[in-house]
């Protein structure tokens, strides 16, 4: 057997014989078990010691499957094929047995009645998988992939098959499994029996699909609310984004750089912050509300809460995304086409209408679908501004946290939401998906973009300026609002909120972070800093497999890895709660579940960045490395990764920042021990404690601006430093 097979077998045995099999109270990196009754205490014991004491006998087969390759192959001169088949068999048996026993026996013995009647009652139980079980699972997985490689898949490349296996396993466990779990819980009634009738009754409920409002009633179903809002937002952000893209590329506008800087804003802004600013402006005691009320002597109203508020907030939040997409589209229209049209005597306006605009059509559709998905998935803005306008994403949340705690209802709502976003995602991929990957080649065919005709340019300017002024006001509000005693009622300036949140004191032990926000702040930094590199690794590895390797089922693989883009955070949150609350994978209440949710929520963006940057690297570089005797792993680490440094940094920054600003999935997954900044802020908002919420939001924005800036500096540095060290060594 080769080295890597031995390595995994040995690791598997370590997991089986030395590490605690079940999950530990103090987490994966807690080592209390070492000093507290290990290895015999059943809570801390490795599988081997459990078995020796005659406990958890159902773990015994795992030992057989682990030893199978050693017994059957050893170092005997069997054929390659035979060895591969043995590994394959051991891997499949091991993984299936892990799954079977894990789902059959839980906290209360047998998980299914049928098993109890079949095998008789079981007076035992088991907890979630711990370090030992995890290592054994990994060992079986890689024994399996080594077997598959040995049978000749991907030219027998162990590293590539292992990487594919790892990604598939993770996507299955952390994306598909929770979703399936959620579906199945929607299909069950409160006693746990499956019933399609009950599901349909719940799913087709009037509260979801009712059309009352069309018949003069007050309310329509939440699904229609969400759909209406999403279409509206998708359409508006596309129009606005196009206006900005046109101004940025085809006008003499002087502050184009500034316009481009706006695209960074939504990345560094927690999604509900815009909502908060809108409240400061238009809320009952908002500045503009008060101003108008005094001017016209009107009674201030709560008109902003509901559709108008959410709509404005989402427009402000998501227009930059549309802009980002459309600027590429607008620049992608070849100038020579437009010039050709002009030489054929078309006026500027005719050129725009008959050539440029039609060429942009797929890009426009793409922007619309993105806006649609974002609006559907948005949780923060409807939460702070929703009023009586219920949408799916917030209803899911209230179904779980409210007095009702109705997981079945949450699951049903989540399915409705998922149907919308997946349809949009599917449409996007079906019609335009591939196009968004093609990177622009350097092959410019020269020529200048035609300037916009006046009748297009003027409205564009107007829209862009209005939006710009509004955005600046909004961010000004946020920064300023943190220093105001009580907005609208007592406008004196104060540091009170900052001191409450981020006060620092001294005590006998030195500096003491006594502010209320420090806890969640540090947790957030820690979780985000853990998630960022992992997201980057998973994303880039996937991108590398997609761009550089050929294997059966690649299309399905790609679809699976991009899918989580279309799964709203609220859905992830609900499904994680349903899937990972009980053994065998017990994660709720840990930091790990937050990290994992970030990795798989943000993975598609890492994949996209990786694909874009990897397509720029000549494939013959890999091949040269291979013919020079390097294996795939070495080629990946020595050639590909160094050349992708900018993309890696971008992926790191992006996933870090996203982890700091996310709210929708987070709010389901936080716990007393692991509270995150965003959910803390939302908590303050719900207590009408706007001062602290706004102060904290400003701090987050500033921190993230600093991170983005620092990273950009670093990316610039990397190249120059390389240059410098070169010239030094020459001197």
């Amino acid at each position: 057997m080769n080295k890597s097979t031995w390595l995994w077998l040995v690791l598997g045995l370590i997991g089986f014989c030395l590490l605690p099999w079940y999950v530990q109270e103090d987490g994966l990196w807690g080592f209390e078990w070492l000093v507290d009754g290990y290895p015999f205490d059943p809570d801390y014991a490795p599988a081997l010691f459990l078995l020796m004491q005659g406990e958890k006998l159902w773990l015994l087969p795992l030992a057989f499957w682990l030893l199978l390759p050693i017994a059957a192959i050893g170092n005997s001169p069997k054929t390659v094929r035979y060895k591969a088949n043995v590994l394959l068999l051991a891997g499949v048996l091991g993984l299936s047995w892990l799954a079977i026993q894990g789902y059959s026996i839980g906290l209360r013995g047998w998980n299914y009645e049928a098993l109890a009647t079949l095998f008789g009652p079981l007076d035992d139980r088991q907890y979630g998988m711990g370090a030992g079980a995890l290592l054994v699972t990994a060992a079986f997985l890689f024994i399996l992939t080594t077997g598959i490689a040995g049978r000749g898949a991907v030219n027998g490349d162990v590293f590539v098959v292992g990487a594919i296996g790892l990604i598939i396993a993770m996507v299955t466990v952390f994306i598909f499994f929770p979703i399936v779990q959620m579906l199945s819980s929607a299909l069950r009634d409160n006693d746990g029996t499956y019933s399609l009738g009950i599901f349909l009754a719940k799913f087709l409920d009037n509260k979801i699909w009712g059309l009352n409002c069309l018949q003069g009633g007050t309310r329509c179903g939440v699904a229609w609310n969400s759909l209406f809002l999403a279409v509206l937002v998708g359409f508006s952000t596309t129009v606005l984004g196009l206006a900005f893209a046109l101004v940025a590329t085809r006008s003499g506008f002087k502050y184009k750089k500034l316009l481009r800087a706006l695209t960074v804003l939504p990345i560094i802004t927690p999604p509900f912050v815009i909502g908060l600013a809108i409240i400061l402006l238009f809320g009952l005691s908002g500045s503009i509300t008060q101003f108008v009320a005094e001017l016209f002597n009107l009674q201030p109203t709560r008109w902003i809460y509901g559709l108008p508020g959410i709509y404005i907030a989402q427009m402000l939040s998501f227009t930059p995304i549309a802009f980002l997409v459309l600027i590429g589209v607008v620049e992608g229209v070849s100038p020579s086409m437009e010039e050709a049209a002009q030489t054929l005597r078309a006026t500027k306006w005719q050129t725009f209408r008959t050539v440029s605009l039609p060429l942009m059509r797929p890009g426009l559709a793409n922007a619309f679908l993105l806006g649609f998905i974002e609006s559907m998935a948005d949780f923060g803005n409807p939460l702070v501004l929703g009023g009586n306008y219920d949408v799916l994403s917030t209803e899911i949340f209230f179904a779980i946290v409210g007095a009702q705690n109705d997981q079945g209802k949450a699951a049903v709502l989540a399915i409705a939401l998922l149907i919308f976003t997946l349809t949009a995602f599917y449409a996007q991929r079906r019609w335009l998906g591939k196009k968004s990957y093609t990177t622009k080649t350097g092959k410019g065919d020269g020529g200048m973009h035609v300037m916009l005709p006046r009748r297009v340019l003027l409205p564009c300017y107007f829209i862009a300026m209005t939006w710009g002024v509004f955005t600046v006001t909004v961010y000004g509000m946020i920064l300023y609002g943190g220093f105001v005693e009580t907005w609208g009622l007592n406008n004196t300036l104060t540091f009170k909120h900052y001191i409450t949140a981020f006060g620092i004191g001294y005590n006998d032990f030195g500096i003491h972070f006594k502010g209320a926000a420090w806890d969640s702040f540090w947790t957030t930094l820690k979780i985000a800093a853990t998630a960022a590199p992992l997201t980057a690794i998973v994303g880039l590895l996937t991108a590398w497999l997609l761009v550089r390797q050929n294997f059966a089922g690649k299309n399905a693989f790609e679809f699976g890895t991009m899918l989580s883009f279309a799964i709203p955070g609220t859905v992830i949150g609900v499904s994680y709660i349903l899937a990972f609350n009980v053994p065998p994978i017990e994660l709720t209440g840990t930091g790990a579940i937050l990290v994992i949710s970030f990795i798989f929520r943000n993975m598609p963006v890492g994949v996209r960045a990786g694909i874009a940057s990897m397509s720029q690297i000549d494939k013959s570089l890999d091949e040269a490395s291979l013919t020079l005797g390097a294996n795939t792993w070495r080629t990946f680490t020595r050639i590909i990764l160094p050349l992708m440094r900018p993309a890696i940094l971008a992926a790191l920054v992006f996933s870090f920042v996203r982890a700091m600003t996310a709210i929708s999935a987070v709010i389901f997954l936080v716990s007393a021990e692991y509270n995150m900044a965003t959910s803390y802020i939302i908590g303050r908002v719900e207590n009408n404690d706007y001062g602290i919420a706004i102060a904290y939001s400003s701090v987050l924005i500033v921190v993230m601006l600093a991170v983005v800036g620092l990273m950009q500096l670093l990316v610039g540095r990397v190249d120059t430093r390389r240059r410098l060290s070169q010239s030094e060594s020459k001197a």
Binding site: G156, L621, A624, S625, L626, T627, G629, R638, I639, Q726
Partner: protein, 359 residues
């Protein structure tokens, strides 16, 4: 170039019935069998898309054969991936690692083969010396000219003392003047070190100049294998006759076969040449344009025709002559001066015409 320390582990290459199918339908290489001797420089020559690069990549292990078997030396490597084959390749784009210096590039393969540091450095330095680039070690590839980059690529492949060294159109990114120089350099290093080299090109002149033997490919199959002279003088089919130097192709009639000699009639002309396996009956005759002489009207045993085009090409004249046997392309001395519309007679030189073997 100094005495080099590179020995040679040159090995032979053998293809048996090797095919490569991309996807389900694209037959890039169709049951090709070939043999390259150790220490020999063999070119794969053929028009674009005929499967040369695919063949080369199968030697390197970058593509796996769909069927058939490949041997390097005495080892069957059909299922061995590139990493584990002792074969180096110089890529068309050179594929120098842009983030490594010249020296790091050249040492890359040596470091991987777990050689001692001092030896790695030593070998890399002498590799650079061999290609005339000592002193350039600390530069980045982007700081070199195209020709220099290419020599780095050659050095990087050479220092590993591969059993087989592969070149994929190595001259295509160089300007015309450099090409002759570089191809001579490659040939010189190859002979000096006794390397087995497989060299891909679509340029017949380049192939004739550098090769011990040439493998002509067309449409995924081998059209002919032979030494340059052999291919030029004895093409076995119309494709090779036309692709290696140009050739006029005539429909001829074999009227008599006597031992190995055939009597052939083309129009009014009768010649006697090697039969090449043809029996009495129709046959195809290939004649190089340089092997046709122009005579005035009345020459006995000749093809009469009319000059349709005449163009001056400096070193020679090119004529297009219309005859009863079809259009004939003739290249003759710059001194001949026939005008368009003139009546002429054509005769073949005795070594010129070749009967193509029956298909």
């Amino acid at each position: 170039m100094s005495e080099s320390q590179f020995g040679s582990k040159a090995a032979s290459v053998e293809f048996q019935q090797v095919s490569k199918i991309y996807g389900k339908t694209v037959m890039a290489v169709d049951s090709v069998s070939l043999h390259v001797e150790a220490g020999e420089l063999v070119t794969l020559l053929g028009p674009s898309g005929c499967g040369k690069t695919t063949t080369l990549r199968m030697i390197a292990g970058l593509e796996m054969a769909s069927s058939g078997s490949i041997k390097i030396g005495d080892t069957d490597v059909t299922h061995v991936p590139a990493t584990d084959r002792d074969v180096s390749m110089v890529f068309q784009s050179y594929a120098l690692f842009p983030h490594m210096t010249v020296l790091e590039n050249v040492s890359y393969g040596l470091k991987i083969s777990k050689m001692k540091k001092a030896e790695v450095l030593d070998r890399a330095e002498s590799g650079l010396e061999l290609v005339g680039l000592s002193g350039y070690g600390s530069r980045l590839p982007s700081e070199l000219s195209g020709g220099q980059q290419q020599r780095v690529a050659v050095a990087r492949a050479l220092v590993l003392e591969p059993q087989v060294l592969l070149f994929d159109e190595p001259l295509s990114n160089l300007d015309a003047k450099l090409r002759r120089q570089v191809r001579e350099d490659i040939r010189e290093i190859q002979t000096k070190l006794g390397l087995t080299v497989v060299y891909v090109t679509h340029d017949q002149e380049e192939a004739l100049a550098v090769s011990d033997r040439i493998i002509v490919m067309n449409n995924a199959v081998i059209a002919q294998i032979g030494a340059p002279r052999e291919l030029y003088a004895q093409p076995v089919n119309e494709f090779v006759a036309d692709f290696i130097g140009e050739a006029n192709l005539f429909d001829a009639q074999v009227t008599d076969v006597n031992d190995t000699l055939a009597t052939v009639t083309i129009g009014d002309m009768q010649i006697t040449i090697a039969a090449n396996g043809n029996a009495v009956g129709p046959a195809r005759l290939a004649v190089r344009p340089q092997a046709i002489d122009l005579y005035d009207v009345g020459e006995p045993n000749s093809l009469s025709g009319v000059v349709r085009k005449a163009s001056y090409a400096g070193s020679h004249m090119e004529y297009q002559v219309e005859t009863a046997a079809g259009q004939v392309f003739v290249v003759s001395d710059a001194e001949t001066d026939r005008t368009v519309g003139a009546d002429v007679c054509l005769r073949f030189r005795s070594t010129g015409p070749v009967l193509l073997p029956p298909a």
